[in-house]
């Protein structure tokens, strides 16, 4: 048991280091040498002498039998600590707060990733549809997304934005993929914390989150991505978000749950 104390073969005495003045003297020597560099060589010499003496003294302390002394145990041994048996609540299924803190079964992390990927693939469809219906090319929304990173993608060169630019497309795809993936992951982790009703989970993941996200984008887009802000069509934008949210949530909710080993043991 834990309260067994490990007693090496020691008597009532402990062997402890003897107090010694050399560490302080060594420090003093070093500091005086420093002061010597700053001011006068006299300090330098004095510091050097003290330093050398302290070094020799210190090495002397290191020799077997010189630096140690037996010290009697003076204080009473540590008080045994009062135990309070029975006053512990452990976290078990059914404890209040349990569900929120530790879902017993979760969707595997991979479900979230999959949800993000699938959502990420279907999400551009409304965007493309909007682009074609409103007379733009399908590169238009992709280029706009890349405007988060690239300067100079703004309203002044709309014609440019209709064309295929491999760099812009690459950047757009990377941004889109990274965000889809992370948000999917979050879905995978967080949806199980919502009361175990599929309706609620779908409502949260498919409606609430996209709404909040659209709202945030609406508020911040003028800075985050002025190009997008200038050209975006909000209903279509929101549609994209809903499509993503519903798909990702569906993938997550449908996945097989696995039991989780709570961190910290059974």
């Amino acid at each position: 048991m834990a309260e067994e104390l490990h007693r090496p073969e020691e008597g009532p005495n402990v062997e402890m280091l003897k107090p010694t003045v050399w560490p302080m003297m060594l420090g003093l020597g070093v500091a005086l040498m420093g002061a010597g560099v700053a001011t006068s060589p006299a300090f330098l010499a004095l510091g050097g002498v003290i330093f050398a003496a302290a070094l020799v003294g210190w090495v002397g302390d290191l020799l077997p039998g010189r630096g140690h002394a037996e010290e009697p145990m003076i204080a009473p041994p540590p008080e045994p600590v009062a135990a309070r048996p029975g006053a512990v609540e452990r976290l078990r299924p059914g404890t209040p707060g349990y569900r929120f803190m530790l879902p017993l079964k979760v969707h595997p992390v991979s479900a979230g990733v999959r949800g993000g990927l699938v959502g990420g693939v279907v999400m551009p469809l409304p965007a493309f549809a909007w682009a074609l219906l409103s007379g733009h090319s399908i590169w238009f929304p992709v280029n706009l997304l890349a405007g988060t990173l690239l300067p100079g993608v703004d309203g002044t060169n709309l014609a440019e934005l209709e064309q295929l630019h491999p760099t812009l497309v690459l950047i757009g795809v990377v941004i889109h993929a990274a965000m889809s993936l992370v948000i999917g992951l979050l879905y995978g982790v967080l949806l199980p914390t919502i009361p175990q009703r599929v309706v609620w989970q779908m409502a949260c993941g498919g409606v609430l989150v996209p709404l909040i996200w659209t709202g945030l984008c609406y508020g911040l887009m003028s800075v985050a991505n002025p190009a997008l802000r200038a050209n975006v069509d909000w209903p279509w934008f929101a549609t994209s978000q809903f499509v993503f949210g519903l798909t990702a949530a569906a993938v997550v909710v449908r996945s097989e749950k696995v039991a989780v080993a709570p961190a910290g043991g059974p």
Binding site: T20, W22, G27, A38, W58, V81, R90
Partner: protein, 548 residues
């Protein structure tokens, strides 16, 4: 619970004998106490300098301090607070606690430990000796950008005192780092695995790694500076092709990890206080440990976020901006885990928790202003303004100082056998909180309104007056808080309530011995089977080790 106060009463018998005992001691506990007392002294000195600066800034074109004196004061204030208050107080507390927490009799190298304390003290005295040299203390700012430090621009020996003081105390800091690593790796109680050490010990391990990696470059840079000044070398001499850049890079390569050296141990203290006062185990211990190590390593690669305006390439700017923002993630993990520990706990609202709550609510703000600063383009505007001054006091006081106070209130009973007065502690807390916010919040506004830092005076009519006046009033509210604390320390030594061995009903090993502990700490070395050995003792029917 009988409590003996043998050392302290014996000391009164003879002042000389008492002093001698402290001078020659190699006991990690005494050394720890000396570190902390020294740091508190420097805190008062540094604070006094700050208050004088604040008075000078009360009105535009005020005439309270001459320009040179003001510049010397912020140099000394920054240097003192970072090197002779912040680091020593943390190293001192770690010195006292780490061996106790891991069930060891002392540090791995007790004599080296003593040497570390003494060089730190002498280093501090050397810096302050600059008051007595021609030209007085250095006026170079705590990061001492070259070539302002070269002989051409700073003729007097003040800069030498500064450089050598830091060099000497740096030796002590490195010694402490070596010592902690050896102690934590090699001297844990039987059975105590690295993943079972109290969380504070983890943060000290992280801090020590940073010390070992970051302080030597500073030492090297200081050596270069001294060679320039005394042997005619040209490291930082643009006339001979030397570069002002080299100093910046070397200094900040040290300087950024330094700020985490200053905050990680405070994180550790919070991680001890929050669980005990929430009556819960620390949430996500493994992730906290991982996050600590992530901070240690990521923060070695962010230093040039102090240098966005020096004209690096845009790519480099973005590298350092990205890396700096990344540090926010492991830091966030810690914040969230503390919150989760609090959540659902039964909070015991005693002074240690009060300061811990102060830490939690304030540090986040400082961290977030750090993220704002890390946005390179925004930094072009607010670099070197009072916004930065606001940011770093917010993390240094809201983080380090609040954390340290939580720790000092928590462990004072262990060190002295008596409790600090709760009433004084509450006064201290509220004055500090209010004064602190009032001092440093307005600085962010002044910075955004265009006020640069390190100016001894400013033009009227720019809209800065009000914010400066608020800040000064705040500083004057803070001042009594520190004095109350100093008073409480002394007063409670004799009049405090007797504490007993384990006043907080805590769970780590330091509470398993007497208060104060005997010189050998533990009569017999305990066997450890979980993160909370005392929990196991107190709850034999439901011990932790079944769950870990």
């Amino acid at each position: 619970m009988a409590t003996a106060v043998p050392e302290l009463s014996r000391e009164r018998l003879s002042l000389v004998a008492g002093l001698h005992e402290w001078v020659v001691t190699v006991d990690h506990k005494k050394i720890g106490v000396m570190y902390v007392l020294m740091a508190i002294a420097f805190l008062l000195i540094g604070g006094l300098e700050a208050v004088l600066m604040r008075v000078q800034l009360l009105w535009p074109r005020a005439d309270f301090l001459p320009p040179l004196t003001f510049n010397q004061f912020f140099t000394l204030h920054g240097t003192t607070m970072v090197f002779f208050m912040g680091m020593p107080i943390l190293i001192g507390m770690a010195n006292y606690l780490v061996p106790l927490m891991i069930g060891a009799r002392d540090m791995a190298f007790p004599r080296l430990n003593a040497m570390g304390f003494w060089v730190t003290l002498f280093g501090g005295l050397l810096v302050y000796a600059s008051f007595f040299v021609p030209g007085g203390p250095p006026a170079i700012g705590w990061f001492a950008y070259a070539p302002l430090t070269e002989k051409t621009f700073a003729r007097g020996p003040g800069v030498d005192c500064w450089a050598l003081g830091l060099l000497v105390s740096g030796v002590g800091t490195i010694a402490a780092g070596v010592n902690f690593v050896a102690t934590i790796v090699g001297m844990r109680a039987p059975g105590m695995k690295l993943r079972q050490v109290p969380f504070f010990v983890w943060t000290i391990l992280g801090t020590s790694i940073q010390i070992l990696v970051a302080i030597p470059p500073l030492t090297a840079a200081l050596v270069m500076l001294i060679f320039d000044r005394h042997l005619g070398a040209h490291f930082f001499d643009p006339q001979a092709g030397g570069s002002a850049y080299l100093w910046m890079h070397l200094f900040w390569f040290f300087g950024h990890p330094e700020v985490y050296i200053l905050v990680l141990p405070a994180f550790g203290m919070i991680s001890e206080v929050v669980p005990v006062f929430s009556r819960k185990v620390l949430f996500g211990y493994e992730f906290m440990a991982l996050a600590t190590m992530a901070i240690v390593f990521i923060s070695l690669g962010v230093w040039a976020h102090h240098m966005f305006t020096v004209g690096m390439s845009r790519t480099l700017d973005m590298f350092f901006a990205g890396a700096s923002m990344l540090v926010g993630i492991p830091t966030g993990i810690k914040i969230f885990n503390w919150l989760a520990t609090l959540y659902g706990g039964k909070l015991v609202l005693k002074s240690p928790l009060l300061f811990a709550l102060g830490f939690l609510s304030m540090f986040v703000i400082g961290g977030l202003t750090g993220i704002i600063l890390a946005c390179a383009a925004v930094n072009f505007q607010i670099h070197d303004t009072y916004f930065v001054v606001g940011h770093f006091h917010w993390v240094l006081i809201g983080g380090t100082v609040f954390g340290v106070f939580a720790g000092l209130h928590y462990w004072y009973p262990k060190v002295t056998g008596r409790m600090l007065s709760e009433r004084l502690a509450k006064w201290q807390f509220w004055l500090l909180l209010v004064g602190f916010i009032l001092t440093f919040a307005p600085m962010h506004v002044a910075g955004v309104l265009g006020m640069p830092r390190r100016i001894y005076t400013y033009e009227p009519g720019r809209g800065w007056d009000l914010w400066n006046q608020l800040a000064t009033v705040g500083a004057l509210i803070q001042a009594p808080s520190y004095l109350i604390f100093a008073f409480n320390l002394v007063w409670s030594l004799r009049h405090g309530e007797l504490a007993g061995d384990d006043p907080w009903d805590a769970w780590t090993l330091e509470w398993a011995t007497t208060s104060p502990p005997p010189s050998y700490n533990f009569e017999s070395v305990p066997v450890v089977r979980s993160r909370r050995p005392l929990w196991d003792l107190k709850h034999p029917d439901d011990p932790d080790w079944k769950y870990e």
